[in-house]
Symmetry: D2
Subunit: 207 residues, 4 copies
Amino acid sequence: MNCIEKLTEIFRRFPGIGPRQARRFVHYLLTEGESARENLILTVAELKSSALQCSSCFRFFTKTGRDSRTCALCLDSTRAGSSLMVVAKDVDLESVEKSRTYDGHYFVLGNTISFTDKEPEKNVRMAELTARINKEVKQGKLKEIILAMSLNPEGEHTAEIIRKAISPLLQDANVKISTLGRGLSTGTELEYSDAETIKNALQNRKS
Amino acid sequence: MNCIEKLTEIFRRFPGIGPRQARRFVHYLLTEGESARENLILTVAELKSSALQCSSCFRFFTKTGRDSRTCALCLDSTRAGSSLMVVAKDVDLESVEKSRTYDGHYFVLGNTISFTDKEPEKNVRMAELTARINKEVKQGKLKEIILAMSLNPEGEHTAEIIRKAISPLLQDANVKISTLGRGLSTGTELEYSDAETIKNALQNRKS
Amino acid sequence: MNCIEKLTEIFRRFPGIGPRQARRFVHYLLTEGESARENLILTVAELKSSALQCSSCFRFFTKTGRDSRTCALCLDSTRAGSSLMVVAKDVDLESVEKSRTYDGHYFVLGNTISFTDKEPEKNVRMAELTARINKEVKQGKLKEIILAMSLNPEGEHTAEIIRKAISPLLQDANVKISTLGRGLSTGTELEYSDAETIKNALQNRKS
Amino acid sequence: MNCIEKLTEIFRRFPGIGPRQARRFVHYLLTEGESARENLILTVAELKSSALQCSSCFRFFTKTGRDSRTCALCLDSTRAGSSLMVVAKDVDLESVEKSRTYDGHYFVLGNTISFTDKEPEKNVRMAELTARINKEVKQGKLKEIILAMSLNPEGEHTAEIIRKAISPLLQDANVKISTLGRGLSTGTELEYSDAETIKNALQNRKS
């Protein structure tokens, strides 16, 4: 396999990329010329050396001047330490941050748990989550853990597994577990809504 | 214009139908033969003679034995008269009925109100709604009016106009106005959610 | 089943229409009012009484003043009687007419022949086609039969079956059978073309 | 801009990639770990050092043992030197090769020529093409130049410009210019075909 084919194979493994688009990527790099290829190499190399996983919330971040193992969100002392939002992935955390409606802490599981997953603790950071909760419970600041999963079968399954795993840790502590509210989301049309969404929208209706 | 072209024109005005599909409908009727055409004619004629608009909720229904002007939902004495759900269209009412989570009464506005609509009371049944609410307030059973509009700009605008129009009627009565709950709907993924949905999901979170 | 449900069922059988859109059609007819329903009934009734199938090419047409059993295309004496184009459906004939590049006669099979079709002569007008060809061969004007099928597996299968069926009728007559040319069609991009299309485009290349 | 953002920007410039997918690519590289990043860096570096543009047909290829400036297709003495196919891009050449229906030589223009292009000779390899044709005409082997462009407005415009540019070079030589055949391509349905395709399919019909 020559390097054109090898690079095509590498791009094929990128999320959502088929053989044809992978081939186009290689061709793009070939025609864009020297500096584009050099730029890609240097930036991936920089990623290699400066991208870190936060030791507290486990999201990826980039090292700045101070050589810290903790990300800016976790270091930010103006954020409320009373709530911890558990999300499946970095992109979920970024979505919540963009909404500018939450100022507590985060924990990134790294994955959702599928129904066929026999050992969920291997695919998500279960041990790290229980360790973190245990520590925070002892410190006494934590008041609420928000399980912020997507509203699809895998998201709900993940929330259920997490709830079972962390409930015992909270027994004597005054920490509640909550989940995101349900009802109509932006763009939802009544005509096309399923029974579950209508039920939630009715139960959670507001005066 | 011959009758093939005329019928194609008629089908083109059906919701969501372009010239090509309209032409296919005509061809379907031509090839399906005599009984299919006869069946369509008879059923539309039956619709003409037996479909009625309920004098109470204004949805369409079909006359059964008893020659009533009121639909089965409105006549059903087991349904709670304490709540009235205002919807834009018949299909919205049908969606809510299918969810089997509401057992109160309905009122169908007939339309949503667009932002450019100078005289909304001409496109929606505003006079009929206020008349109905006035009557119900006098009878003293009504406790809640649920504005059940889709969560899009026109739906929200409609709810706002309706709320302004009916609030004065409820001043001395103990009747509250509510809207459907907001948050994640079935299938919502955090990664792709807008700030508004995340804000609602967070504000309405549940223990 | 009331007439709203009955009409929904009828529309569901229309080509390409699901339950939701069928329901919308009924609602459209209910809200459009009396004259729209009346118009539909009258036009379908007119279709019933005045749409005819041409006794020569078997396409559907509408009776005009002269009470003819033959359509305008078949009656048009300026069209060349030397070529007969065999198409699967009325819409194919209409497509060719719109292109204004053919001035011969037509024959509509009524269907394509699927691979699982054990008795193709029941689904397409095979007997009528052979009768017509026999008659035309005797008259001595016919020079070419064009099998104008779509370039998909069923279209090619149909052309093959038809060719086998009509070849024996032409043995002593000087009538050739032809098929539509192959190569790049409007919009074809080389990058996304399959081997067959490229092969045809190369074989049929033009100086 | 940190390196996560920088890499996202780089991927956004990849063909067909939006900001969201670019972000996913970066996340994929972060989670796939060290070896995936290393592998990408090494292969792009290899591309930098070993991908060459053929001095004869101008497609990209990878250097093998022999340090040649000419690609394997151009060096292959079993391929017919009597025909030269002019294509817009590498991917077009690859499409034709996959069809295994052509065994002549190629020339890659590098681009198509758009209608607004005032100086087409700057965007496509016009000088290189005329040089190559002049050389081949002198050698006396060339019999045919195939302009193999996609059948869209830009493809046709490109073919026309190229034809005008190379015709003078062929005046005394016995070399013809041809274009790809037109008609139905795989999957073409008569019902949905435009007039141009039907015209070509009829003109190029085959016995």
